[in-house]
Symmetry: C2
């Protein structure tokens, strides 16, 4: 039971579970793509899903590490050479473990502190973290359209 | 300044601003659609954007009202006859005011309480509300692909 003193709109643990639940769904969307289409299929000049996932991998764990270390280093998509869906899924799983580990190093008080993410986005840490989740949902939603256009049924949105 | 007793991962006010910021972006995505395409354009057998927005309007304000009143009435897309983009935008703006009003009637302690939304989704209220936001981002991301496929530049994702 919450007391007035400790009641939270959302607890730190629940916010992590929320994010990792979304990451688990994104992982299944990656799995749903045929190998070739993951790297090549696109609509309206947009990036293929592999490039969108590269962006997500360049944010998630590296950005959380930057927050923990208050390191305002620039954004980079240099995440190593990922050539296959299996490479991406392995990197995804490594990021899952890293995110859990860095999360433990953030205090409740940290969330309202400002941090200049990537030397570019000066916002309270909670806003930066919500951006990571929102950006993932946004791009994954685009992946859903790619899958539908390919005649593939995507995973249920509400299954995490 | 936060004290240990009052520190929040996210404050109630900031979560409302976060949601309304997303709603403001969705409004601009609605505006970006040509009238005809808003009702007719789709990819891969998906719903046109007007139908996705109907879903969002059937959740947002009605769902928050249901939470405030602890009224587990079933989900319904019966939101009145909306025939034009202008009708949708007006309904959107009415929902903005309603959401602000209902939000004031939720306490911090309420967020961790279970509620059976639409008589179907028995979860803590914070999870239901995050679902509203996530579902909106998800479908709006799909709207972005529709716009790109139509050769229309969508609004910047980070502008709220």
């Amino acid at each position: 039971m919450n007391t007035t003193a400790t009641a939270q709109v959302i607890s730190k643990e629940d916010l992590l579970n929320h994010w990792q639940g979304h990451r688990n769904l994104t992982r299944r969307v990656i799995e749903a793509f045929p190998e070739k289409d993951f790297f090549e299929f696109s609509i309206g000049g947009m990036r293929p899903f592999s490039k969108l996932v590269t962006e997500l991998l360049s944010i998630g764990a590296p950005a959380l590490k930057a927050i923990v270390n208050r390191d305002a280093k620039p954004y980079s998509e240099d995440i190593g050479e990922l050539k296959t869906k299996a490479d991406f899924l392995q990197k995804w799983d490594e990021a899952t473990v890293e995110i859990n580990s860095y999360w433990n190093q953030i205090s409740i008080e940290d969330f309202s502190e400002n941090f200049n993410l990537f030397g570019q986005y000066e916002f309270p840490i909670i806003q930066n973290i919500l951006y990571f989740v929102d950006n993932e949902i946004h791009h994954r939603g685009q992946g859903y359209v790619y899958l539908r256009a390919l005649g593939i049924e995507p995973p249920f949105f509400w299954e995490r």
